[in-house]
Symmetry: C2
Subunit: 349 residues, 2 copies
DNA sequence: GTGACAATCTGTAACGTTTCAGTATATAGC
DNA sequence: GCTATATACTGAAACGTTACAGATTGTCAC
């Protein structure tokens, strides 16, 4: 062992985390060879490859993220960008778990990048892109003409949107079919003999507001029911506001006998408003609501529900972003989740 | 300009992200000087310091995280470790926002590290520590003798726990005073004339199970009420299980006339169980429940609630971890949040 | 036996940062 | 006018990784 090798030995045998240098020393190879052996490069002998990988596994070698990131620019990070005021609560937790599930056996980490009402929604995106903090981004509250999607498309950074855009640009997305939801809800209410329907829609600026309205309108004319306008509030409004507006509406002469609600929390407010007006759910009015966890039937057993699975959405979004990062065509990474049937509550035995 | 400087210029004027080298070229200083000027090192002249900082701000210099991390080992990352099965939904979203709020104007990023039922809760912690992926860790579902806290304490990695431990070891935590909650709930129910109380407690393995039980027991003897045992389920059980057990309990001869519930979702199940047994809330039985968002009163207006603010918890936990990272003594980074009064619902005008 | 070529392996440089060990200049002491 | 010392700055090395440009073999054609 010459002086040079001795030095290497001294360095590599340190009890810190193993690095390529450690592996190189242990196997008697150069760091370059080790590096390539670990990533199955073609110019490495089969036996050497196996030997390196065995030793690496034995001593629990894990590539240093900072080293890789500095050298290659690859962060192995997916960022989930969330609005801290308007995001649906169960959405946040479920989508995180969905994403986690998918990236669990990849080297990716999930970072959460929040922004608040006061900020331009583009701010966090700009930050991520400018600082190169993530390989891929997931955004929600998608708009028909979404500056964030446009911005990332321009910079060529992989992303996926929860909800669709409508800019004639192609990018990965996952969406719930809110057109189908609203249409099914209308049909179900019509089937119960309801004729005057009100819709508590998503906020106008989001794409699925349009989808929801379209499904609502199309099905209304299909079944020959009519709309009672209820567009002074959206599911983004406070519980109190929705409750108050609902109560007001229900005290009018011409009041709805059916409600469709795009969010579970808002449904609580609608029901409260209905009861404030002295009316009874299931008798005077029926309500169809989306929900993401099976809790509404406990609230009022008369409620009619359609489930939206955010965990699945998170998983799909993660798959889409990873797919894009992996080189797949953005157009092939789009998915739409069909709503199940409208469910009435069945009392357990 | 000599050849050497020319090279520098060429490199530094590249339109990529500005680095120290860019700043060094622009200011005519060495990278070392620039680096030190930016962190207010003492041996830099006052004017130079100002000049460098001005230029840095002008061109929007941001230190490269990978560079810093590789050189110093500092990740500027806080990891929030979450159980993907048992975490309360609102807890996840609120705590994330609370943490975000605090780290917003720091260089820290928040990464979410999930683990599932099948795993040893120590796994994600080991991963974080071994790979040096975070400067600080936040864990929840804290146990009296918590191997995760012990492990991190041994390795000297800063962390904070949501909930306390009971191992005679000192570390930062934030906790809700569940002893006070249970005691107050008992007193309130006693004040309503309720005499036979049942408690739906947190799962036994968590520290606050003990706190809750102690508060419950102490207040019971204080007010001279008695306990109806209800320990076949905890708030970790499924809605269906809790509902069924509640209904069973309420059909017994000796049944509770008061319930205390440690979680809002579980309360929905308790109420359903009560009603399954043909009894009425507010008449036959009163229920005091914790909640983290103001929704329970919409569910049944007779419900009595105590609010627990998870966003605040997230903020406190983040402050604690950052404090520890910043060198503060762990013992000074502990906080306890006192429950407010038990609230009955007041109908809005 | 020579040249060509493939198959394996290797050293060096670079990513951007901080730290170490200086260097150069000015100021002060005497 | 000399040294000592403080002040302000600097180059080189290192963190762990990958890419580039070789280097060393052995094999084969002829």
């Amino acid at each position: 062992m010459n002086r040079h090798q001795k030095e290497k030995a001294d360095e590599a045998s340190g009890q810190g985390r193993p690095t390529l240098k450690t592996l190189a020393f242990m196997t008697g190879l150069g760091v370059t060879t080790v590096s390539r052996a670990l990533k199955d490069a073609p110019e490495i002998g089969a036996e050497t490859r196996r030997r390196v990988q065995l030793v690496a596994k034995q001593i629990g070698y894990r590539p240093n993220r900072a080293g890789v990131r500095l050298r290659t620019g690859k962060t192995n990070v997916i960022s989930l960008v969330l609005n801290t005021e308007h995001e649906i609560m169960s959405f946040v937790s479920d989508i995180i778990y969905g994403v986690s599930e998918v990236i669990a056996d990849t080297p990716y980490h999930l970072i959460v990048t929040p922004y608040s009402r006061s900020q331009d929604p583009l701010d966090p995106i700009r930050y991520l892109v400018e600082t190169g903090s993530a390989d891929g981004v997931i955004i929600s509250r998608t708009q028909p003409n979404d500056p964030r999607a446009r911005y990332m498309l321009e910079r060529g950074i992989p992303f996926a949107t929860h909800g669709r855009t409508d800019m004639g640009l192609i990018h990965p997305y996952h969406d719930f079919d809110n057109y189908a939801f609203a249409a099914e809800a209308v049909r179900h209410l019509a089937g119960l003999g309801r004729r005057r329907l009100a819709l508590l829609a998503p906020p106008v600026e989001l794409t699925y507001h349009g989808h929801t309205l379209a499904g609502f309108a199309d099905a209304l004319s299909e079944v020959g029911a009519s709309e009672i306008p209820f567009n002074t509030v959206s599911i983004d409004h406070s519980i109190e506001q929705i409750r108050m507006r609902t109560a007001q509406l229900m005290r009018r002469d011409v009041r709805p006998d059916g409600f469709i609600s795009s969010a579970a929390a808002a449904t609580l407010a609608i029901v409260a408003g209905i009861e404030d007006a002295g009316l009874k759910l299931g008798r005077d009015v029926d309500v169809v609501s989306k929900q993401s966890s099976e809790l509404l039937h406990l609230f009022r057993s008369e409620l009619l529900v359609v489930n939206e699975n955010f965990r699945l959405a998170g998983a799909e979004l993660a798959r889409s972003v990873l797919g894009w990062i992996g080189g797949a065509a953005p157009g092939t990474l789009q998915s739409l989740s069909e709503p199940g049937e409208v469910q009435a509550y069945r009392r357990p035995d």
